[in-house]
Symmetry: C2
Subunit: 216 residues, 2 copies
């Protein structure tokens, strides 16, 4: 596939690195490619991941089979708008609506009666938004078999069965064994609100090296 | 122990039945004992659970080693106030702040920057509130070994280590093998907000016969 990864932070780098390793063509979108390339941390990562091309949000998304939103929740709508109309394209939305303004642990800037996944679908009505992977750290997202041989759960939700099938295929390529379909995009309220519990588990453990399994 | 179970709905009945079976002395608190006793569904259950005594909220809580709040979230503060000041007593709070007014699935009437567990602790400053068991259905709460031999997680949080130890002991008597301490009572935000995900999983499955395991 031609994959656009929007966002160059740790989540974006993990997803770009893994999808390139799996043989996909990966363009990484950022607001200002030359500024991103000049950053030491990114440059060090990029030397080890030369197959990933750096581009603007719009260049990355143009013609992509899959647009992965790996930007921070508070930057997601702006980044996606910069990427274009995304008509007919599949958006895999990994973001969480974290509000860091009020201290730690962060709260959510949208919850309960709405979600960031729904806001993105509303802003891009001709795109097919699939929420997934936002319930675990980036290492487990892309290499799930390294935790309990993958015996844990990743959720997908979205309004398009076809788009969910495409995302599910990529998750299985990553190594996910239990891809749980929660239904339409309103279920993003569930996976985003779970972050409040994820944060407390991570704080109690002092690390984020865990995921949940739906035992049934 | 002398245990007060506040609330006579399915959750209260499951907890009362199981704690009595385990040999504890159980008083079940309700607003109007004679009205509750006259209800067919309750009466049928009570015939099979004669060891459980029906009482007012205040009678049930008086002198109890453990007060279990098994009332609905929107009725919890009123029920607990009717039970007394509860000074020095341990409250195991199972409730969820479900708001059924706006349809299905319910939203939460408090979330994100506060929780029902915290509101109860604030209203009863001399009591020791422990939030637990609110993340699974009542059958799994009290007989966890019947699901995957108990290979799943129950969370506790609260400000008193001693109160959490008392509740943890009861959870282990129920059969819980993985009691996860999330920290102080503010972590109730995490377990209560998880209900948004729990509801979506239950809807997708068409049943509530599951629990999550923290895989680490």
């Amino acid at each position: 596939m031609h994959i656009a990864v929007l966002g160059t932070s740790a989540v974006g780098r993990a997803v770009a690195s893994r999808t390139a390793e799996l043989g996909h063509t990966v363009l990484m979108g950022t607001r200002d490619p030359s500024a991103t390339a000049a950053r030491d941390e990114f440059a060090a990562w990029h030397r080890d991941n030369e197959a990933v091309q750096l581009a603007t949000f719009a260049q990355a998304a143009s013609g992509a089979d899959l647009v992965i939103n790996a930007t921070g929740g508070d930057a997601s709508l702006a980044a996606l708008r910069a990427a274009g109309e995304l008509a007919g394209q599949v958006i895999l939305d990994i973001s969480n609506p974290l509000d860091h303004a009020a201290g730690f642990p962060p709260t959510l800037f949208v919850a309960n009666t709405d979600s960031l996944g729904e806001q993105i679908q509303l802003a891009f009505p001709a795109a097919h938004v699939v929420k997934a992977l936002n319930t675990m750290n980036n290492a487990i997202m892309v290499r799930p078999r390294e935790l309990a041989d993958g015996d844990h759960t990743v959720f997908v939700c979205g309004n398009s069965a076809e788009a969910k099938a495409l995302v599910t295929g990529l998750l299985q390529e990553f190594g996910h064994r239990d891809v749980f379909d929660l239904g339409d995009i309103t279920a993003a309220r569930g996976t985003e609100m779970y972050i409040a519990l994820w944060l407390r588990i991570a704080i109690a453990r002092g690390k984020s090296d865990f995921n949940i399994k739906v035992v049934r």
